[in-house]
Protein backbone atom coordinates (compact mmCIF):
# COMPACT_ATOMS: atom_id res chain seq x y z
CA UNK A 1 0.00 0.00 0.00
CA UNK A 2 1.18 3.54 -0.78
CA UNK A 3 0.08 6.90 0.57
CA UNK A 4 -1.41 7.81 -2.83
CA UNK A 5 -3.68 4.74 -2.67
CA UNK A 6 -5.54 6.02 0.38
CA UNK A 7 -7.66 8.46 -1.62
CA UNK A 8 -9.33 5.63 -3.54
CA UNK A 9 -9.88 3.43 -0.53
CA UNK A 10 -12.54 3.46 2.16
CA UNK A 11 -11.58 2.76 5.75
CA UNK A 12 -13.24 -0.35 7.18
CA UNK A 13 -14.76 1.61 10.09
CA UNK A 14 -16.92 3.54 7.60
CA UNK A 15 -18.71 0.50 6.24
CA UNK A 16 -21.73 1.20 8.42
CA UNK A 17 -22.05 -2.33 9.80
CA UNK A 18 -21.65 -3.85 13.25
CA UNK A 19 -23.95 -3.70 16.30
CA UNK A 20 -26.28 -0.66 16.57
CA UNK A 21 -24.75 0.89 13.47
CA UNK A 22 -27.94 2.89 12.85
CA UNK A 23 -26.91 5.09 15.79
CA UNK A 24 -23.27 4.30 16.49
CA UNK A 25 -20.86 5.30 13.72
CA UNK A 26 -17.68 3.90 15.24
CA UNK A 27 -15.96 2.49 18.31
CA UNK A 28 -12.43 3.66 18.90
CA UNK A 29 -9.78 2.88 21.51
CA UNK A 30 -6.42 4.56 21.85
CA UNK A 31 -3.48 3.67 24.08
CA UNK A 32 -0.65 6.00 25.07
CA UNK A 33 2.69 4.22 25.38
CA UNK A 34 6.24 5.47 25.95
CA UNK A 35 9.64 3.86 25.67
CA UNK A 36 11.73 3.51 28.78
CA UNK A 37 14.92 5.58 28.96
CA UNK A 38 13.84 8.09 26.30
CA UNK A 39 12.60 11.60 27.13
CA UNK A 40 8.97 12.21 26.09
CA UNK A 41 8.67 13.80 22.61
CA UNK A 42 8.18 17.43 23.74
CA UNK A 43 11.32 17.19 25.93
CA UNK A 44 13.47 15.04 23.63
CA UNK A 45 16.38 16.16 21.47
CA UNK A 46 16.52 15.24 17.81
CA UNK A 47 18.82 12.15 18.09
CA UNK A 48 16.58 10.61 20.78
CA UNK A 49 13.47 11.22 18.69
CA UNK A 50 15.15 9.71 15.64
CA UNK A 51 16.01 6.64 17.68
CA UNK A 52 12.42 6.30 18.89
CA UNK A 53 11.23 6.47 15.26
CA UNK A 54 13.69 3.76 14.24
CA UNK A 55 12.76 1.49 17.17
CA UNK A 56 9.04 1.97 16.50
CA UNK A 57 9.38 1.26 12.76
CA UNK A 58 11.36 -1.92 13.48
CA UNK A 59 8.83 -3.07 16.09
CA UNK A 60 5.86 -2.50 13.74
CA UNK A 61 7.59 -4.57 11.10
CA UNK A 62 7.90 -7.51 13.49
CA UNK A 63 4.22 -7.36 14.47
CA UNK A 64 2.02 -9.75 12.44
CA UNK A 65 -1.12 -7.69 13.25
CA UNK A 66 0.49 -4.73 11.49
CA UNK A 67 1.37 -6.53 8.26
CA UNK A 68 1.45 -4.58 4.98
CA UNK A 69 0.93 -1.21 6.61
CA UNK A 70 2.69 2.02 5.71
CA UNK A 71 5.04 4.04 7.87
CA UNK A 72 4.89 7.73 6.91
CA UNK A 73 7.57 10.18 8.03
CA UNK A 74 5.60 13.43 8.25
CA UNK A 75 8.52 15.89 8.25
CA UNK A 76 8.23 16.71 4.55
CA UNK A 77 4.48 16.35 4.13
CA UNK A 78 2.67 19.48 2.96
CA UNK A 79 -0.36 20.82 4.81
CA UNK A 80 -2.97 19.40 2.44
CA UNK A 81 -1.53 15.90 2.80
CA UNK A 82 -1.35 16.19 6.58
CA UNK A 83 -4.89 17.56 6.88
CA UNK A 84 -6.00 14.73 4.58
CA UNK A 85 -4.78 12.28 7.24
CA UNK A 86 -6.51 14.28 9.99
CA UNK A 87 -9.76 14.28 8.00
CA UNK A 88 -9.58 10.48 7.76
CA UNK A 89 -9.39 10.34 11.59
CA UNK A 90 -5.95 8.73 11.35
CA UNK A 91 -4.10 11.36 13.35
CA UNK A 92 -4.59 14.45 15.50
CA UNK A 93 -4.39 18.08 14.48
CA UNK A 94 -1.52 18.45 16.93
CA UNK A 95 0.44 15.85 14.96
CA UNK A 96 -0.14 17.84 11.77
CA UNK A 97 0.91 21.23 13.15
CA UNK A 98 4.46 20.41 14.25
CA UNK A 99 5.77 17.47 12.29
CA UNK A 100 9.52 17.25 12.87
CA UNK A 101 10.60 13.74 13.85
CA UNK A 102 7.01 12.57 13.70
CA UNK A 103 5.53 9.60 11.90
CA UNK A 104 2.24 7.86 11.30
CA UNK A 105 1.72 4.16 10.75
CA UNK A 106 -1.48 3.00 9.01
CA UNK A 107 -2.58 -0.55 8.27
CA UNK A 108 -4.35 -1.37 4.98
CA UNK A 109 -7.88 -1.41 6.47
CA UNK A 110 -7.17 1.90 8.23
CA UNK A 111 -8.62 0.39 11.40
CA UNK A 112 -5.20 0.66 13.06
CA UNK A 113 -3.18 3.89 13.14
CA UNK A 114 -0.16 4.64 15.30
CA UNK A 115 1.18 8.15 15.80
CA UNK A 116 4.88 8.17 16.68
CA UNK A 117 6.24 11.09 18.71
CA UNK A 118 2.96 12.89 19.21
CA UNK A 119 2.44 13.80 22.90
CA UNK A 120 3.67 10.31 23.77
CA UNK A 121 6.13 8.10 21.87
CA UNK A 122 3.28 5.90 20.68
CA UNK A 123 -0.40 6.67 20.36
CA UNK A 124 -2.03 3.48 19.12
CA UNK A 125 -5.57 3.74 17.74
CA UNK A 126 -7.96 0.97 16.75
CA UNK A 127 -11.27 1.91 15.18
CA UNK A 128 -14.18 -0.33 14.18
CA UNK A 129 -17.57 0.20 12.60
CA UNK A 130 -20.63 0.19 14.91
CA UNK A 131 -20.85 -0.36 18.68
CA UNK A 132 -18.23 -3.02 19.34
CA UNK A 133 -15.74 -2.07 22.04
CA UNK A 134 -15.07 -5.75 22.84
CA UNK A 135 -13.71 -6.54 19.41
CA UNK A 136 -11.89 -3.20 19.24
CA UNK A 137 -10.20 -3.99 22.56
CA UNK A 138 -9.26 -7.53 21.49
CA UNK A 139 -7.43 -6.15 18.45
CA UNK A 140 -5.79 -3.41 20.51
CA UNK A 141 -4.76 -5.75 23.33
CA UNK A 142 -3.00 -8.16 20.99
CA UNK A 143 -1.14 -5.37 19.13
CA UNK A 144 -0.10 -3.84 22.45
CA UNK A 145 1.09 -7.20 23.80
CA UNK A 146 3.16 -7.90 20.69
CA UNK A 147 4.75 -4.47 20.76
CA UNK A 148 5.60 -4.84 24.44
CA UNK A 149 7.58 -7.98 23.61
CA UNK A 150 9.84 -5.96 21.32
CA UNK A 151 9.82 -2.51 22.97
CA UNK A 152 10.47 -1.73 26.64
CA UNK A 153 7.62 0.47 27.76
CA UNK A 154 7.94 3.06 30.53
CA UNK A 155 5.89 1.36 33.25
CA UNK A 156 5.71 1.45 37.02
CA UNK A 157 3.77 -1.18 38.93
CA UNK A 158 2.15 1.40 41.18
CA UNK A 159 1.06 3.85 38.46
CA UNK A 160 0.98 1.75 35.31
CA UNK A 161 1.96 3.16 31.92
CA UNK A 162 3.82 6.43 32.31
CA UNK A 163 2.69 9.20 29.98
CA UNK A 164 3.82 12.76 29.25
CA UNK A 165 0.59 14.14 30.70
CA UNK A 166 -0.59 12.71 34.03
CA UNK A 167 -4.20 12.78 32.77
CA UNK A 168 -3.33 9.65 30.73
CA UNK A 169 -1.26 7.78 33.32
CA UNK A 170 -2.33 4.27 34.33
CA UNK A 171 -3.95 2.36 31.51
CA UNK A 172 -3.10 5.13 29.02
CA UNK A 173 -6.45 4.24 27.51
CA UNK A 174 -9.20 6.34 26.03
CA UNK A 175 -12.30 4.65 24.57
CA UNK A 176 -14.53 6.76 22.33
CA UNK A 177 -17.86 6.14 20.69
CA UNK A 178 -19.06 8.28 17.79
CA UNK A 179 -22.83 8.65 17.91
CA UNK A 180 -25.40 10.04 15.50
CA UNK A 181 -28.25 11.46 17.60
CA UNK A 182 -30.53 13.48 15.30
CA UNK A 183 -33.76 12.58 17.09
CA UNK A 184 -32.46 13.63 20.52
CA UNK A 185 -31.36 16.93 18.97
CA UNK A 186 -34.69 17.48 17.17
CA UNK A 187 -36.73 16.72 20.26
CA UNK A 188 -34.47 19.03 22.30
CA UNK A 189 -33.49 16.34 24.78
CA UNK A 190 -29.82 16.35 23.89
CA UNK A 191 -28.65 18.86 26.51
CA UNK A 192 -30.21 16.85 29.28
CA UNK A 193 -28.35 13.77 28.02
CA UNK A 194 -25.02 15.60 27.67
CA UNK A 195 -25.29 17.10 31.13
CA UNK A 196 -25.85 13.67 32.64
CA UNK A 197 -22.81 12.32 30.77
CA UNK A 198 -20.56 15.13 32.04
CA UNK A 199 -21.53 14.28 35.62
CA UNK A 200 -20.30 10.73 35.10
CA UNK A 201 -16.82 11.99 34.09
CA UNK A 202 -17.16 11.33 30.41
CA UNK A 203 -16.30 13.95 27.80
CA UNK A 204 -18.20 14.88 24.67
CA UNK A 205 -16.52 16.07 21.50
CA UNK A 206 -17.55 16.80 17.94
CA UNK A 207 -17.33 14.93 14.66
CA UNK A 208 -13.75 15.91 14.00
CA UNK A 209 -12.31 14.81 17.33
CA UNK A 210 -10.06 16.44 19.88
CA UNK A 211 -10.67 20.13 20.42
CA UNK A 212 -13.75 20.38 18.21
CA UNK A 213 -17.19 21.39 19.41
CA UNK A 214 -19.98 18.89 19.11
CA UNK A 215 -21.47 20.01 15.80
CA UNK A 216 -24.77 19.11 14.24
CA UNK A 217 -26.01 15.74 15.31
CA UNK A 218 -22.70 13.97 15.91
CA UNK A 219 -21.22 13.37 19.33
CA UNK A 220 -18.08 11.57 20.39
CA UNK A 221 -18.19 10.31 23.95
CA UNK A 222 -15.09 9.11 25.81
CA UNK A 223 -13.86 8.23 29.28
CA UNK A 224 -11.86 10.83 31.19
CA UNK A 225 -10.26 8.71 33.89
CA UNK A 226 -7.48 6.27 33.00
CA UNK A 227 -6.08 5.20 36.38
CA UNK A 228 -7.54 3.01 39.12
CA UNK A 229 -9.71 0.67 37.03
CA UNK A 230 -8.97 -2.24 34.72
CA UNK A 231 -9.22 -1.59 30.98
CA UNK A 232 -12.26 -3.85 30.74
CA UNK A 233 -13.98 -1.99 33.58
CA UNK A 234 -13.42 1.38 31.95
CA UNK A 235 -14.79 0.05 28.67
CA UNK A 236 -17.67 -1.58 30.56
CA UNK A 237 -18.62 1.80 32.01
CA UNK A 238 -18.60 3.39 28.57
CA UNK A 239 -20.73 0.55 27.23
CA UNK A 240 -23.27 1.05 30.01
CA UNK A 241 -23.64 4.76 29.32
CA UNK A 242 -23.76 4.35 25.54
CA UNK A 243 -26.45 1.64 25.79
CA UNK A 244 -28.68 4.09 27.61
CA UNK A 245 -28.06 6.86 25.09
CA UNK A 246 -28.89 4.44 22.26
CA UNK A 247 -32.18 3.57 23.98
CA UNK A 248 -33.04 7.25 24.40
CA UNK A 249 -32.30 7.97 20.75
CA UNK A 250 -34.39 4.97 19.66
CA UNK A 251 -37.32 6.18 21.75
CA UNK A 252 -36.99 9.70 20.35
CA UNK A 253 -36.93 8.30 16.79
CA UNK A 254 -40.04 6.23 17.50
CA UNK A 255 -41.93 9.17 18.90
CA UNK A 256 -40.95 11.37 15.95
CA UNK A 257 -42.18 8.68 13.57
CA UNK A 258 -45.42 8.28 15.52
CA UNK A 259 -46.25 11.93 16.06
CA UNK A 260 -44.46 13.93 13.38
CA UNK A 261 -43.98 11.50 10.56
CA UNK A 262 -44.87 13.92 7.77
CA UNK A 263 -42.65 16.68 9.07
CA UNK A 264 -39.78 14.20 9.45
CA UNK A 265 -40.23 12.67 5.99
CA UNK A 266 -40.43 16.14 4.50
CA UNK A 267 -37.12 17.18 6.07
CA UNK A 268 -35.43 13.97 4.98
CA UNK A 269 -36.65 14.12 1.37
CA UNK A 270 -35.82 17.83 1.10
CA UNK A 271 -32.29 17.11 2.35
CA UNK A 272 -31.95 14.31 -0.19
CA UNK A 273 -33.26 16.62 -2.91
CA UNK A 274 -30.77 19.37 -2.10
CA UNK A 275 -27.84 16.96 -1.97
CA UNK A 276 -28.83 15.46 -5.35
CA UNK A 277 -29.23 18.84 -7.04
CA UNK A 278 -27.06 21.48 -5.39
CA UNK A 279 -24.20 23.02 -7.37
CA UNK A 280 -22.68 24.98 -4.49
CA UNK A 281 -22.67 23.61 -0.96
CA UNK A 282 -20.75 24.52 2.22
CA UNK A 283 -19.29 21.93 4.55
CA UNK A 284 -21.72 22.87 7.33
CA UNK A 285 -24.76 22.41 5.11
CA UNK A 286 -23.32 19.13 3.87
CA UNK A 287 -22.96 17.71 7.38
CA UNK A 288 -26.47 18.83 8.24
CA UNK A 289 -28.08 17.34 5.12
CA UNK A 290 -26.06 14.13 5.16
CA UNK A 291 -27.13 13.67 8.76
CA UNK A 292 -30.80 13.87 7.71
CA UNK A 293 -30.19 11.53 4.78
CA UNK A 294 -28.53 9.03 7.10
CA UNK A 295 -31.54 9.18 9.41
CA UNK A 296 -33.76 8.60 6.36
CA UNK A 297 -31.71 5.57 5.41
CA UNK A 298 -31.71 4.22 8.99
CA UNK A 299 -35.50 4.59 9.24
CA UNK A 300 -36.00 3.00 5.80
CA UNK A 301 -37.61 6.16 4.50
CA UNK A 302 -34.94 6.52 1.81
CA UNK A 303 -34.20 2.97 0.78
CA UNK A 304 -31.81 3.31 -2.13
CA UNK A 305 -28.85 5.07 -0.51
CA UNK A 306 -26.35 2.86 1.28
CA UNK A 307 -25.27 3.87 4.77
CA UNK A 308 -21.64 3.20 3.88
CA UNK A 309 -21.85 5.69 0.99
CA UNK A 310 -23.23 8.38 3.30
CA UNK A 311 -20.45 7.69 5.83
CA UNK A 312 -17.86 7.93 3.09
CA UNK A 313 -19.23 11.29 1.93
CA UNK A 314 -18.61 12.81 5.38
CA UNK A 315 -14.90 12.17 4.78
CA UNK A 316 -14.70 12.89 1.03
CA UNK A 317 -16.37 16.30 1.28
CA UNK A 318 -13.79 17.80 3.62
CA UNK A 319 -11.35 20.45 2.30
CA UNK A 320 -8.18 18.40 1.86
CA UNK A 321 -10.02 15.44 0.35
CA UNK A 322 -11.64 17.73 -2.21
CA UNK A 323 -8.26 19.21 -3.10
CA UNK A 324 -6.66 15.79 -3.41
CA UNK A 325 -9.53 14.64 -5.64
CA UNK A 326 -9.13 17.71 -7.86
CA UNK A 327 -5.36 17.43 -7.55
CA UNK A 328 -4.86 21.16 -6.97
CA UNK A 329 -5.34 23.89 -4.38
CA UNK A 330 -8.93 25.14 -4.21
CA UNK A 331 -10.31 28.31 -2.65
CA UNK A 332 -13.24 28.02 -0.25
CA UNK A 333 -15.69 28.94 -3.04
CA UNK A 334 -14.13 26.46 -5.46
CA UNK A 335 -14.37 23.78 -2.80
CA UNK A 336 -18.10 24.44 -2.37
CA UNK A 337 -18.57 23.78 -6.10
CA UNK A 338 -16.37 20.67 -6.09
CA UNK A 339 -18.14 19.37 -2.96
CA UNK A 340 -21.55 19.65 -4.61
CA UNK A 341 -20.22 17.89 -7.70
CA UNK A 342 -18.79 14.96 -5.70
CA UNK A 343 -22.08 14.52 -3.83
CA UNK A 344 -24.17 14.67 -7.04
CA UNK A 345 -21.92 12.09 -8.69
CA UNK A 346 -22.19 9.65 -5.79
CA UNK A 347 -25.85 9.90 -4.80
CA UNK A 348 -27.32 11.52 -7.92
CA UNK A 349 -28.71 8.63 -9.92
Amino acid sequence: MKFEDLLNRTASWLKGSGPNSDIVISSRIRLARNLEKFPFPHWAKKPDSEQVLALAAAAFEKTPELKDGIFLRLDDFDNVDKQFLVERHLMSNEHAIRSNQKALFINPDENVAIMVNEEDHLRIQVMESGFDLDMTWRIMDSIDNRLSEVLTYAFKREWGYLTACPTNTGTGMRGSIMLHLPALVMTRQINRVLEAIAKLSFTTRGLYGEGTQASGNFFQISNQVSLGSKEEEILGNIKGVIKQIIEQEEKARESLMAEHREMLEDRIWRSYGTLKNAHIISSNETVELLSMLRLGSDLNIVANVERSLINELFILTQPSHLQKLENKKLSANERDVKRAQIIRERIGG
Partner: protein, 179 residues
Protein backbone atom coordinates in the same frame (compact mmCIF):
# COMPACT_ATOMS: atom_id res chain seq x y z
CA UNK B 1 -23.15 38.79 7.16
CA UNK B 2 -19.59 38.36 5.87
CA UNK B 3 -16.74 36.81 7.85
CA UNK B 4 -14.81 39.39 9.90
CA UNK B 5 -11.44 37.87 9.08
CA UNK B 6 -11.48 37.08 5.37
CA UNK B 7 -14.42 39.33 4.41
CA UNK B 8 -15.25 36.89 1.64
CA UNK B 9 -17.41 34.07 2.94
CA UNK B 10 -20.68 34.03 4.83
CA UNK B 11 -20.18 34.05 8.58
CA UNK B 12 -21.58 30.89 10.11
CA UNK B 13 -19.87 30.92 13.51
CA UNK B 14 -20.49 33.66 16.04
CA UNK B 15 -18.00 34.15 18.83
CA UNK B 16 -17.91 36.37 21.89
CA UNK B 17 -14.36 37.05 22.93
CA UNK B 18 -13.25 38.70 26.16
CA UNK B 19 -9.72 40.10 26.12
CA UNK B 20 -8.56 42.19 29.09
CA UNK B 21 -12.14 42.72 30.24
CA UNK B 22 -13.17 44.08 26.83
CA UNK B 23 -15.86 42.13 25.10
CA UNK B 24 -15.89 41.87 21.34
CA UNK B 25 -18.03 39.90 18.93
CA UNK B 26 -16.61 37.97 16.02
CA UNK B 27 -18.51 36.59 13.06
CA UNK B 28 -16.53 34.00 11.16
CA UNK B 29 -16.86 31.69 8.20
CA UNK B 30 -16.25 27.98 8.58
CA UNK B 31 -12.60 28.07 7.47
CA UNK B 32 -11.57 31.05 9.57
CA UNK B 33 -13.38 29.63 12.59
CA UNK B 34 -11.42 26.44 12.29
CA UNK B 35 -8.14 28.37 12.14
CA UNK B 36 -9.19 30.54 15.05
CA UNK B 37 -10.13 27.57 17.21
CA UNK B 38 -6.77 25.96 16.47
CA UNK B 39 -5.00 29.14 17.58
CA UNK B 40 -7.07 29.34 20.73
CA UNK B 41 -6.34 25.75 21.53
CA UNK B 42 -2.63 26.41 21.25
CA UNK B 43 -2.88 29.46 23.45
CA UNK B 44 -4.98 27.87 26.11
CA UNK B 45 -4.41 24.17 26.00
CA UNK B 46 -4.87 21.37 28.44
CA UNK B 47 -1.44 22.16 29.89
CA UNK B 48 -2.78 25.45 31.30
CA UNK B 49 -5.70 23.71 32.93
CA UNK B 50 -3.38 21.11 34.32
CA UNK B 51 -0.86 23.66 35.59
CA UNK B 52 -3.81 25.15 37.48
CA UNK B 53 -4.66 21.78 38.93
CA UNK B 54 -1.06 21.23 40.05
CA UNK B 55 -1.29 24.40 42.11
CA UNK B 56 -4.86 24.01 43.20
CA UNK B 57 -5.38 22.70 46.70
CA UNK B 58 -1.75 21.89 47.14
CA UNK B 59 -1.30 22.05 50.86
CA UNK B 60 2.42 21.54 51.06
CA UNK B 61 4.33 22.86 54.02
CA UNK B 62 6.86 25.65 53.41
CA UNK B 63 9.67 23.13 53.65
CA UNK B 64 8.01 20.95 51.02
CA UNK B 65 7.39 23.96 48.82
CA UNK B 66 11.07 24.82 48.91
CA UNK B 67 11.95 21.21 48.18
CA UNK B 68 9.50 21.16 45.25
CA UNK B 69 11.04 24.35 43.87
CA UNK B 70 14.46 22.74 43.51
CA UNK B 71 13.33 19.17 42.76
CA UNK B 72 14.47 17.89 39.39
CA UNK B 73 14.67 14.62 37.48
CA UNK B 74 18.25 13.38 37.25
CA UNK B 75 17.50 11.37 34.10
CA UNK B 76 16.15 14.16 31.87
CA UNK B 77 16.84 17.36 33.82
CA UNK B 78 13.21 18.54 33.98
CA UNK B 79 12.47 20.49 37.16
CA UNK B 80 9.20 20.34 39.04
CA UNK B 81 8.86 24.02 38.20
CA UNK B 82 9.10 23.13 34.46
CA UNK B 83 6.34 20.59 34.95
CA UNK B 84 4.16 23.16 36.66
CA UNK B 85 4.62 25.51 33.73
CA UNK B 86 4.16 23.13 30.80
CA UNK B 87 1.95 20.48 32.38
CA UNK B 88 3.99 17.68 30.83
CA UNK B 89 6.58 15.45 32.45
CA UNK B 90 9.99 14.97 30.80
CA UNK B 91 10.44 11.18 30.90
CA UNK B 92 9.34 8.03 32.73
CA UNK B 93 11.93 8.63 35.45
CA UNK B 94 10.22 11.92 36.37
CA UNK B 95 7.47 9.83 37.96
CA UNK B 96 10.03 8.48 40.45
CA UNK B 97 11.78 11.82 40.95
CA UNK B 98 8.51 13.64 41.69
CA UNK B 99 6.64 10.71 43.25
CA UNK B 100 5.87 12.66 46.39
CA UNK B 101 3.98 15.38 44.49
CA UNK B 102 2.56 13.26 41.68
CA UNK B 103 0.76 10.79 43.96
CA UNK B 104 -1.71 13.37 45.26
CA UNK B 105 -2.02 14.97 41.81
CA UNK B 106 -2.92 11.66 40.15
CA UNK B 107 -5.47 11.12 42.86
CA UNK B 108 -7.06 14.50 42.13
CA UNK B 109 -7.19 13.83 38.40
CA UNK B 110 -8.35 10.20 38.44
CA UNK B 111 -9.90 9.79 41.88
CA UNK B 112 -7.43 6.94 42.44
CA UNK B 113 -3.68 6.45 42.26
CA UNK B 114 -3.04 2.75 42.03
CA UNK B 115 -2.87 1.07 38.63
CA UNK B 116 -4.83 -2.17 38.41
CA UNK B 117 -4.89 -2.64 34.64
CA UNK B 118 -2.65 -4.69 32.38
CA UNK B 119 1.13 -4.66 32.40
CA UNK B 120 3.61 -5.05 29.53
CA UNK B 121 4.45 -8.61 28.46
CA UNK B 122 8.10 -8.24 29.37
CA UNK B 123 7.25 -6.77 32.74
CA UNK B 124 5.02 -9.58 33.99
CA UNK B 125 7.55 -12.13 32.81
CA UNK B 126 10.31 -10.33 34.65
CA UNK B 127 8.41 -10.46 37.93
CA UNK B 128 7.06 -13.97 37.43
CA UNK B 129 10.03 -16.10 36.33
CA UNK B 130 9.75 -19.82 35.78
CA UNK B 131 11.61 -21.46 38.70
CA UNK B 132 9.74 -21.56 42.03
CA UNK B 133 12.63 -19.99 43.90
CA UNK B 134 13.03 -17.11 41.48
CA UNK B 135 9.25 -16.71 41.54
CA UNK B 136 9.29 -16.34 45.31
CA UNK B 137 12.05 -13.71 45.14
CA UNK B 138 10.21 -11.80 42.45
CA UNK B 139 7.04 -11.77 44.49
CA UNK B 140 8.91 -10.60 47.54
CA UNK B 141 10.25 -7.61 45.59
CA UNK B 142 6.75 -6.98 44.46
CA UNK B 143 5.43 -6.88 48.02
CA UNK B 144 8.38 -4.74 49.06
CA UNK B 145 7.55 -2.32 46.30
CA UNK B 146 3.98 -2.14 47.54
CA UNK B 147 5.21 -1.65 51.09
CA UNK B 148 7.41 1.23 49.97
CA UNK B 149 4.38 2.83 48.32
CA UNK B 150 2.41 2.28 51.53
CA UNK B 151 5.13 4.04 53.50
CA UNK B 152 5.02 6.97 51.09
CA UNK B 153 1.23 7.13 51.33
CA UNK B 154 1.40 7.26 55.13
CA UNK B 155 4.04 9.97 55.01
CA UNK B 156 1.85 12.18 52.89
CA UNK B 157 -1.14 11.28 55.06
CA UNK B 158 -3.11 9.81 52.19
CA UNK B 159 -4.98 7.27 54.28
CA UNK B 160 -7.46 6.23 51.66
CA UNK B 161 -4.58 5.30 49.41
CA UNK B 162 -2.80 3.61 52.32
CA UNK B 163 -5.82 1.40 52.93
CA UNK B 164 -5.91 0.33 49.27
CA UNK B 165 -2.22 -0.51 49.39
CA UNK B 166 -2.58 -2.39 52.67
CA UNK B 167 -5.23 -4.59 51.05
CA UNK B 168 -3.01 -5.11 48.01
CA UNK B 169 -0.14 -6.23 50.24
CA UNK B 170 -2.39 -8.65 52.12
CA UNK B 171 -3.60 -10.03 48.81
CA UNK B 172 -0.03 -10.42 47.50
CA UNK B 173 1.14 -12.12 50.67
CA UNK B 174 -1.80 -14.50 50.58
CA UNK B 175 -0.93 -15.39 46.98
CA UNK B 176 2.69 -15.95 47.94
CA UNK B 177 1.71 -18.41 50.65
CA UNK B 178 -0.82 -20.12 48.40
CA UNK B 179 1.70 -20.92 45.68
Amino acid sequence: MLCNICNKNQATVHLTEIVDDKMSELHLCDDCARKKSMQMEQQFGLSDLLAGLVDYGKQLSTVDKEAAAVAHCSACGLTYEDFRKIGRLGCGECYTAFAKYLGPLLKRIHGANVHVGKSPKGFSEAVAPKTPKAKATAMATDVNELKASLQRAIEREDFEEAATLRDAIKEAEKKKKGK
